[in-house]
Protein backbone atom coordinates (compact mmCIF):
# COMPACT_ATOMS: atom_id res chain seq x y z
CA UNK A 1 0.00 0.00 0.00
CA UNK A 2 1.26 3.47 -0.82
CA UNK A 3 2.62 5.33 2.21
CA UNK A 4 4.21 8.21 0.33
CA UNK A 5 7.76 6.92 -0.06
CA UNK A 6 8.65 7.80 -3.65
CA UNK A 7 12.11 6.56 -4.57
CA UNK A 8 15.74 6.11 -3.56
CA UNK A 9 17.28 9.55 -3.19
CA UNK A 10 20.84 9.22 -1.98
CA UNK A 11 23.52 7.06 -0.46
CA UNK A 12 26.42 8.27 1.69
CA UNK A 13 29.54 6.11 1.42
CA UNK A 14 32.71 6.20 3.52
CA UNK A 15 35.97 6.20 1.57
CA UNK A 16 39.62 5.92 2.59
CA UNK A 17 40.99 8.36 -0.01
CA UNK A 18 38.60 11.07 -1.17
CA UNK A 19 40.61 12.07 -4.24
CA UNK A 20 40.85 8.49 -5.48
CA UNK A 21 37.14 8.04 -4.76
CA UNK A 22 36.16 11.14 -6.74
CA UNK A 23 38.28 9.96 -9.68
CA UNK A 24 36.43 6.63 -9.52
CA UNK A 25 32.87 7.91 -9.20
CA UNK A 26 33.29 10.92 -11.51
CA UNK A 27 35.95 10.05 -14.11
CA UNK A 28 35.23 6.31 -14.36
CA UNK A 29 31.52 6.07 -13.63
CA UNK A 30 30.55 9.39 -15.13
CA UNK A 31 28.85 10.97 -12.12
CA UNK A 32 29.01 14.76 -11.92
CA UNK A 33 30.57 16.52 -8.93
CA UNK A 34 27.96 18.98 -7.62
CA UNK A 35 29.34 20.30 -4.34
CA UNK A 36 31.67 19.81 -1.37
CA UNK A 37 31.22 20.71 2.30
CA UNK A 38 33.33 21.57 5.34
CA UNK A 39 33.24 17.94 6.52
CA UNK A 40 35.21 17.08 3.39
CA UNK A 41 32.21 15.38 1.83
CA UNK A 42 31.82 15.38 -1.94
CA UNK A 43 28.36 15.43 -3.54
CA UNK A 44 27.72 13.81 -6.91
CA UNK A 45 24.81 12.92 -9.15
CA UNK A 46 24.11 11.04 -12.36
CA UNK A 47 23.11 13.18 -15.30
CA UNK A 48 19.39 12.25 -15.55
CA UNK A 49 18.72 12.92 -11.88
CA UNK A 50 16.72 16.09 -11.24
CA UNK A 51 17.80 16.76 -7.66
CA UNK A 52 21.16 18.17 -6.62
CA UNK A 53 22.92 14.96 -5.53
CA UNK A 54 22.46 11.22 -5.10
CA UNK A 55 25.91 10.06 -3.95
CA UNK A 56 27.81 11.58 -1.03
CA UNK A 57 31.38 10.45 -0.36
CA UNK A 58 32.73 10.97 3.17
CA UNK A 59 36.42 10.52 4.03
CA UNK A 60 36.86 8.02 6.88
CA UNK A 61 39.21 5.24 7.99
CA UNK A 62 36.60 2.50 7.61
CA UNK A 63 34.78 2.13 4.27
CA UNK A 64 31.12 1.18 4.03
CA UNK A 65 27.70 2.85 3.91
CA UNK A 66 26.67 5.57 6.37
CA UNK A 67 23.04 5.62 5.24
CA UNK A 68 20.68 5.41 2.30
CA UNK A 69 17.94 8.03 1.87
CA UNK A 70 14.50 7.79 0.31
CA UNK A 71 12.53 10.76 -0.95
CA UNK A 72 8.90 11.03 0.17
CA UNK A 73 6.14 12.98 -1.56
CA UNK A 74 5.83 15.95 0.81
CA UNK A 75 6.61 17.29 4.26
CA UNK A 76 3.27 16.22 5.81
CA UNK A 77 4.01 12.67 4.69
CA UNK A 78 7.47 12.94 6.21
CA UNK A 79 5.97 13.95 9.55
CA UNK A 80 3.44 11.10 9.41
CA UNK A 81 6.07 8.49 8.49
CA UNK A 82 8.22 9.70 11.40
CA UNK A 83 5.31 8.98 13.75
CA UNK A 84 4.66 5.62 12.08
CA UNK A 85 8.30 4.61 12.47
CA UNK A 86 8.26 5.51 16.15
CA UNK A 87 4.99 3.66 16.69
CA UNK A 88 6.58 0.61 15.08
CA UNK A 89 9.46 0.87 17.54
CA UNK A 90 12.19 2.69 15.64
CA UNK A 91 14.13 5.50 17.23
CA UNK A 92 13.94 8.43 14.81
CA UNK A 93 16.63 11.09 14.70
CA UNK A 94 15.86 14.55 13.29
CA UNK A 95 18.60 15.81 11.01
CA UNK A 96 18.16 19.54 10.30
CA UNK A 97 17.84 20.97 6.81
CA UNK A 98 21.17 21.79 5.13
CA UNK A 99 23.16 19.24 7.16
CA UNK A 100 23.53 17.88 3.65
CA UNK A 101 23.85 20.95 1.43
CA UNK A 102 20.69 21.49 -0.59
CA UNK A 103 18.67 18.87 1.30
CA UNK A 104 15.70 19.58 3.57
CA UNK A 105 15.18 18.03 7.00
CA UNK A 106 15.77 14.30 7.20
CA UNK A 107 14.45 11.62 9.53
CA UNK A 108 17.06 8.95 10.24
CA UNK A 109 16.32 5.51 11.64
CA UNK A 110 18.05 2.16 11.97
CA UNK A 111 16.41 -0.91 10.43
CA UNK A 112 16.60 -4.23 12.33
CA UNK A 113 19.19 -5.31 9.74
CA UNK A 114 21.53 -2.76 11.33
CA UNK A 115 21.53 -0.29 8.43
CA UNK A 116 20.70 3.39 8.74
CA UNK A 117 18.09 4.88 6.44
CA UNK A 118 16.69 8.37 6.01
CA UNK A 119 13.51 9.90 4.70
CA UNK A 120 13.33 13.43 3.34
CA UNK A 121 10.83 15.44 1.29
CA UNK A 122 12.86 18.29 -0.19
CA UNK A 123 16.10 18.61 -2.08
CA UNK A 124 17.32 21.39 -4.33
CA UNK A 125 15.96 20.80 -7.84
CA UNK A 126 18.83 21.39 -10.22
CA UNK A 127 17.25 19.58 -13.19
CA UNK A 128 18.89 17.02 -15.42
CA UNK A 129 22.54 17.81 -15.91
CA UNK A 130 23.70 19.08 -19.29
CA UNK A 131 20.30 19.23 -21.01
CA UNK A 132 17.56 21.81 -20.97
CA UNK A 133 14.14 21.13 -19.50
CA UNK A 134 12.63 22.62 -22.68
CA UNK A 135 13.20 20.80 -25.95
CA UNK A 136 15.93 18.70 -24.31
CA UNK A 137 18.58 16.98 -26.41
CA UNK A 138 18.86 13.20 -26.02
CA UNK A 139 21.93 13.32 -23.78
CA UNK A 140 24.77 15.65 -22.86
CA UNK A 141 27.79 15.19 -25.12
CA UNK A 142 30.41 15.83 -22.46
CA UNK A 143 29.70 12.94 -20.08
CA UNK A 144 32.70 10.96 -18.87
CA UNK A 145 33.40 7.29 -18.33
CA UNK A 146 30.46 4.92 -18.03
CA UNK A 147 27.92 7.75 -18.33
CA UNK A 148 25.84 6.34 -15.44
CA UNK A 149 22.18 7.24 -15.88
CA UNK A 150 20.97 7.18 -12.27
CA UNK A 151 21.68 5.85 -8.78
CA UNK A 152 19.30 2.89 -8.72
CA UNK A 153 19.42 0.77 -5.54
CA UNK A 154 21.60 -0.77 -2.82
CA UNK A 155 22.03 -4.39 -1.76
CA UNK A 156 22.71 -4.69 1.95
CA UNK A 157 23.73 -7.64 4.14
CA UNK A 158 22.44 -8.09 7.70
CA UNK A 159 20.27 -10.21 9.96
CA UNK A 160 16.64 -9.88 11.15
CA UNK A 161 15.28 -9.91 7.61
CA UNK A 162 11.73 -10.67 8.79
CA UNK A 163 11.55 -7.60 11.02
CA UNK A 164 13.20 -5.50 8.32
CA UNK A 165 10.58 -6.76 5.84
CA UNK A 166 7.80 -5.78 8.26
CA UNK A 167 9.24 -2.28 8.61
CA UNK A 168 9.71 -1.65 4.90
CA UNK A 169 6.45 -3.25 3.75
CA UNK A 170 3.98 -2.34 6.50
CA UNK A 171 5.36 1.03 7.63
CA UNK A 172 7.04 2.41 4.51
CA UNK A 173 4.83 0.83 1.84
CA UNK A 174 7.40 -1.21 -0.08
CA UNK A 175 6.39 -4.35 -1.99
CA UNK A 176 8.21 -7.68 -2.12
CA UNK A 177 9.16 -8.18 -5.77
CA UNK A 178 11.54 -11.14 -5.47
CA UNK A 179 12.76 -13.41 -2.70
CA UNK A 180 15.05 -16.35 -2.02
CA UNK A 181 13.67 -19.07 0.27
CA UNK A 182 15.66 -21.80 1.98
CA UNK A 183 14.49 -25.41 2.39
CA UNK A 184 12.56 -24.46 5.53
CA UNK A 185 10.69 -21.71 3.69
CA UNK A 186 12.62 -18.99 5.50
CA UNK A 187 13.39 -15.89 3.46
CA UNK A 188 17.14 -15.38 3.09
CA UNK A 189 16.93 -12.61 0.50
CA UNK A 190 14.30 -9.93 -0.13
CA UNK A 191 14.14 -7.52 -3.04
CA UNK A 192 11.79 -4.64 -2.22
CA UNK A 193 10.34 -1.93 -4.44
CA UNK A 194 8.29 1.27 -4.13
CA UNK A 195 8.17 1.74 -7.88
CA UNK A 196 7.98 -0.21 -11.15
CA UNK A 197 11.59 -1.30 -10.66
CA UNK A 198 12.42 -4.82 -9.53
CA UNK A 199 14.23 -3.44 -6.50
CA UNK A 200 14.75 -0.11 -4.84
CA UNK A 201 16.45 -1.83 -1.88
CA UNK A 202 17.51 -5.43 -1.33
CA UNK A 203 18.64 -7.40 1.70
CA UNK A 204 20.49 -10.71 2.01
CA UNK A 205 20.70 -12.62 5.28
CA UNK A 206 24.09 -12.33 6.95
CA UNK A 207 25.09 -12.89 10.59
CA UNK A 208 26.73 -9.46 10.98
CA UNK A 209 24.46 -6.40 11.01
CA UNK A 210 24.82 -3.34 8.85
CA UNK A 211 27.10 -4.57 6.08
CA UNK A 212 27.23 -2.97 2.63
CA UNK A 213 27.26 -5.16 -0.47
CA UNK A 214 26.87 -2.69 -3.32
CA UNK A 215 25.45 0.54 -4.66
CA UNK A 216 24.04 0.14 -8.15
CA UNK A 217 23.75 2.52 -11.08
CA UNK A 218 21.59 2.15 -14.16
CA UNK A 219 22.89 2.08 -17.72
CA UNK A 220 20.85 2.18 -20.92
CA UNK A 221 21.86 -1.02 -22.66
CA UNK A 222 23.86 -4.22 -22.65
CA UNK A 223 26.30 -2.49 -24.98
CA UNK A 224 26.83 0.18 -22.31
CA UNK A 225 27.49 -2.56 -19.73
CA UNK A 226 30.13 -4.06 -22.07
CA UNK A 227 31.60 -0.58 -22.57
CA UNK A 228 31.74 -0.19 -18.77
CA UNK A 229 33.65 -3.48 -18.62
CA UNK A 230 36.13 -2.12 -21.19
CA UNK A 231 36.64 1.00 -19.06
CA UNK A 232 37.19 -1.16 -15.95
CA UNK A 233 40.01 -2.94 -17.80
CA UNK A 234 41.45 0.27 -19.28
CA UNK A 235 41.70 1.81 -15.83
CA UNK A 236 42.84 -1.42 -14.10
CA UNK A 237 39.90 -1.07 -11.72
CA UNK A 238 39.29 -3.96 -9.31
CA UNK A 239 36.65 -6.20 -10.93
CA UNK A 240 34.40 -8.60 -9.06
CA UNK A 241 32.42 -10.44 -11.74
CA UNK A 242 30.78 -9.91 -15.11
CA UNK A 243 29.56 -8.82 -17.51
CA UNK A 244 26.82 -11.38 -16.90
CA UNK A 245 23.11 -11.65 -16.10
CA UNK A 246 21.40 -12.06 -12.74
CA UNK A 247 18.68 -14.68 -12.30
CA UNK A 248 17.07 -12.50 -9.64
CA UNK A 249 15.56 -9.51 -11.52
CA UNK A 250 17.18 -10.78 -14.78
CA UNK A 251 19.25 -7.59 -14.98
CA UNK A 252 22.47 -7.55 -17.02
CA UNK A 253 25.32 -6.52 -14.81
CA UNK A 254 28.93 -6.02 -13.92
CA UNK A 255 30.31 -5.74 -10.36
CA UNK A 256 33.50 -3.90 -9.47
CA UNK A 257 35.03 -2.08 -6.51
CA UNK A 258 35.79 1.53 -5.72
CA UNK A 259 39.34 2.31 -4.50
CA UNK A 260 38.24 1.79 -0.86
CA UNK A 261 36.72 -1.63 -1.52
CA UNK A 262 33.07 -0.57 -1.65
CA UNK A 263 31.36 -2.65 -4.33
CA UNK A 264 29.57 -0.93 -7.23
CA UNK A 265 27.29 -2.33 -9.89
CA UNK A 266 26.28 -0.94 -13.24
CA UNK A 267 23.42 -2.78 -14.89
CA UNK A 268 20.71 -2.55 -17.51
CA UNK A 269 17.42 -4.24 -18.31
CA UNK A 270 15.70 -6.52 -15.87
CA UNK A 271 12.09 -7.21 -15.06
CA UNK A 272 9.44 -4.72 -13.95
CA UNK A 273 6.93 -4.65 -11.12
CA UNK A 274 3.28 -3.66 -10.68
CA UNK A 275 1.54 -3.92 -7.30
CA UNK A 276 -0.62 -6.83 -8.52
CA UNK A 277 2.47 -8.95 -9.22
CA UNK A 278 3.06 -11.86 -6.87
CA UNK A 279 6.62 -12.19 -5.56
CA UNK A 280 9.05 -14.12 -7.73
CA UNK A 281 10.76 -16.87 -5.73
CA UNK A 282 14.21 -18.38 -6.15
CA UNK A 283 15.20 -21.40 -4.08
CA UNK A 284 18.35 -21.17 -1.96
CA UNK A 285 19.65 -24.45 -3.40
CA UNK A 286 19.70 -22.69 -6.78
CA UNK A 287 21.34 -19.53 -5.41
CA UNK A 288 24.21 -19.76 -7.88
CA UNK A 289 21.85 -19.43 -10.85
CA UNK A 290 19.74 -16.86 -8.97
CA UNK A 291 22.74 -14.56 -8.55
CA UNK A 292 24.82 -15.34 -11.66
CA UNK A 293 22.48 -16.74 -14.31
CA UNK A 294 25.20 -17.78 -16.77
CA UNK A 295 27.90 -19.25 -14.51
CA UNK A 296 25.21 -20.81 -12.28
CA UNK A 297 27.60 -20.76 -9.36
CA UNK A 298 28.50 -18.12 -6.81
CA UNK A 299 31.98 -16.75 -6.62
CA UNK A 300 33.32 -16.73 -3.06
CA UNK A 301 33.42 -12.95 -3.09
CA UNK A 302 29.65 -12.48 -3.49
CA UNK A 303 28.93 -13.78 0.01
CA UNK A 304 32.08 -12.79 1.87
CA UNK A 305 33.40 -9.51 0.51
CA UNK A 306 31.57 -6.63 2.19
CA UNK A 307 32.35 -3.24 3.69
Amino acid sequence: MKKGVMRPGHVQLRVLDIDAAVRHYADLMGLIEMDRDDQGRVYLKAWTEVDKFSVVLRPDDEPGMDFMGFKVVDDATLTQLGKDLQAWGCAVEDIPAEELKGCGRRLRFQAPSGHFFELYADKEYTGKWGVSNVNPEAWPRDLGGMRAVRFDHCLLYGDELAATYDLFVNVLGFHLAEQVLDDNGDRIAQFLTVSMKEHDIAFIMHPEKGKFHHASFYLDSWEQVLRAADLISMTDTSIDIGPTRHGLTHGQTIYFFDPSGNRNEVFCGGDYYYPDHKPVTWMAKDLGKAIFYHDRQLNERFLSVLT
Partner: protein, 105 residues
Amino acid sequence: MTDTFEMIELVKGLHFSCSREQSLLKAMELAGKRCIPVGCRGGGCGLCKVQVVSGEFSCGPMSKKHVDEQSRRCGQVLACRVYPLTDLTFEYRPAAELASTQQQV
Protein backbone atom coordinates in the same frame (compact mmCIF):
# COMPACT_ATOMS: atom_id res chain seq x y z
CA MET B 1 69.14 -1.77 -5.16
CA THR B 2 66.79 -4.10 -6.98
CA ASP B 3 63.26 -3.07 -7.92
CA THR B 4 61.85 -6.59 -7.70
CA PHE B 5 61.66 -8.60 -4.50
CA GLU B 6 61.03 -12.23 -3.64
CA MET B 7 57.76 -12.97 -1.83
CA ILE B 8 57.49 -16.27 0.05
CA GLU B 9 54.25 -17.55 1.55
CA LEU B 10 55.32 -19.91 4.33
CA VAL B 11 52.17 -22.03 4.82
CA LYS B 12 51.97 -23.29 1.22
CA GLY B 13 55.60 -22.60 0.37
CA LEU B 14 54.76 -20.52 -2.71
CA HIS B 15 57.21 -18.00 -4.21
CA PHE B 16 56.57 -15.07 -6.52
CA SER B 17 58.20 -11.75 -7.30
CA CYS B 18 56.79 -8.32 -6.56
CA SER B 19 58.01 -4.84 -7.48
CA ARG B 20 57.86 -1.91 -5.06
CA GLU B 21 55.02 -0.37 -7.12
CA GLN B 22 52.91 -3.53 -6.93
CA SER B 23 50.80 -4.69 -4.04
CA LEU B 24 51.58 -8.12 -2.62
CA LEU B 25 48.12 -9.30 -3.66
CA LYS B 26 48.38 -7.98 -7.21
CA ALA B 27 51.77 -9.62 -7.67
CA MET B 28 50.29 -12.92 -6.49
CA GLU B 29 47.39 -12.61 -8.94
CA LEU B 30 49.72 -11.74 -11.84
CA ALA B 31 51.97 -14.69 -10.99
CA GLY B 32 48.98 -17.04 -11.07
CA LYS B 33 49.66 -18.22 -7.51
CA ARG B 34 46.88 -18.94 -5.05
CA CYS B 35 47.78 -18.48 -1.43
CA ILE B 36 45.74 -15.39 -0.43
CA PRO B 37 42.01 -14.98 -1.18
CA VAL B 38 41.23 -12.00 -3.41
CA GLY B 39 38.44 -9.70 -2.22
CA CYS B 40 37.92 -6.01 -2.98
CA ARG B 41 41.61 -5.21 -3.61
CA GLY B 42 40.98 -1.82 -1.97
CA GLY B 43 41.75 -2.26 1.72
CA GLY B 44 38.07 -2.43 2.60
CA CYS B 45 36.86 -6.01 3.03
CA GLY B 46 39.69 -7.56 5.05
CA LEU B 47 39.70 -10.89 3.20
CA CYS B 48 43.40 -10.80 2.25
CA LYS B 49 44.81 -10.22 5.75
CA VAL B 50 48.26 -11.78 6.10
CA GLN B 51 50.97 -11.97 8.75
CA VAL B 52 54.24 -10.57 7.47
CA VAL B 53 56.99 -12.57 9.19
CA SER B 54 60.11 -10.86 7.86
CA GLY B 55 61.01 -7.96 5.60
CA GLU B 56 60.20 -4.27 5.22
CA PHE B 57 57.17 -2.84 3.46
CA SER B 58 55.02 0.26 3.13
CA CYS B 59 51.22 0.29 3.39
CA GLY B 60 48.39 2.03 1.56
CA PRO B 61 45.17 3.01 3.37
CA MET B 62 43.29 0.11 5.00
CA SER B 63 40.00 -0.13 6.88
CA LYS B 64 40.64 0.28 10.62
CA LYS B 65 37.94 -2.33 11.18
CA HIS B 66 40.35 -4.95 9.85
CA VAL B 67 43.75 -3.44 10.65
CA ASP B 68 44.15 -1.28 13.73
CA GLU B 69 47.45 0.33 14.78
CA GLN B 70 48.51 -2.66 16.86
CA SER B 71 47.82 -5.14 14.04
CA ARG B 72 49.77 -2.95 11.67
CA ARG B 73 52.77 -2.81 14.03
CA CYS B 74 52.63 -6.62 14.34
CA GLY B 75 52.70 -7.01 10.56
CA GLN B 76 49.08 -8.18 10.34
CA VAL B 77 48.07 -6.24 7.23
CA LEU B 78 46.00 -6.50 4.06
CA ALA B 79 47.99 -7.92 1.16
CA CYS B 80 46.21 -5.59 -1.28
CA ARG B 81 47.80 -2.63 0.53
CA VAL B 82 51.30 -4.02 1.16
CA TYR B 83 54.10 -2.66 -1.05
CA PRO B 84 57.46 -4.40 -0.44
CA LEU B 85 60.70 -2.52 0.25
CA THR B 86 62.71 -5.76 0.67
CA ASP B 87 62.15 -9.48 0.18
CA LEU B 88 59.20 -10.60 2.35
CA THR B 89 58.13 -13.80 4.02
CA PHE B 90 54.51 -13.99 5.14
CA GLU B 91 51.75 -16.37 6.17
CA TYR B 92 48.13 -16.50 5.16
CA ARG B 93 45.75 -18.44 7.41
CA PRO B 94 41.95 -18.40 7.00
CA ALA B 95 40.14 -16.23 9.56
CA ALA B 96 38.50 -19.27 11.21
CA GLU B 97 41.90 -20.90 11.71
CA LEU B 98 43.32 -17.66 13.13
CA ALA B 99 40.43 -17.38 15.62
CA SER B 100 40.98 -20.91 16.93
CA THR B 101 44.73 -20.27 17.25
CA GLN B 102 44.05 -17.13 19.27
CA GLN B 103 41.67 -19.05 21.56
CA GLN B 104 44.40 -21.59 22.26
CA VAL B 105 46.78 -18.79 23.20
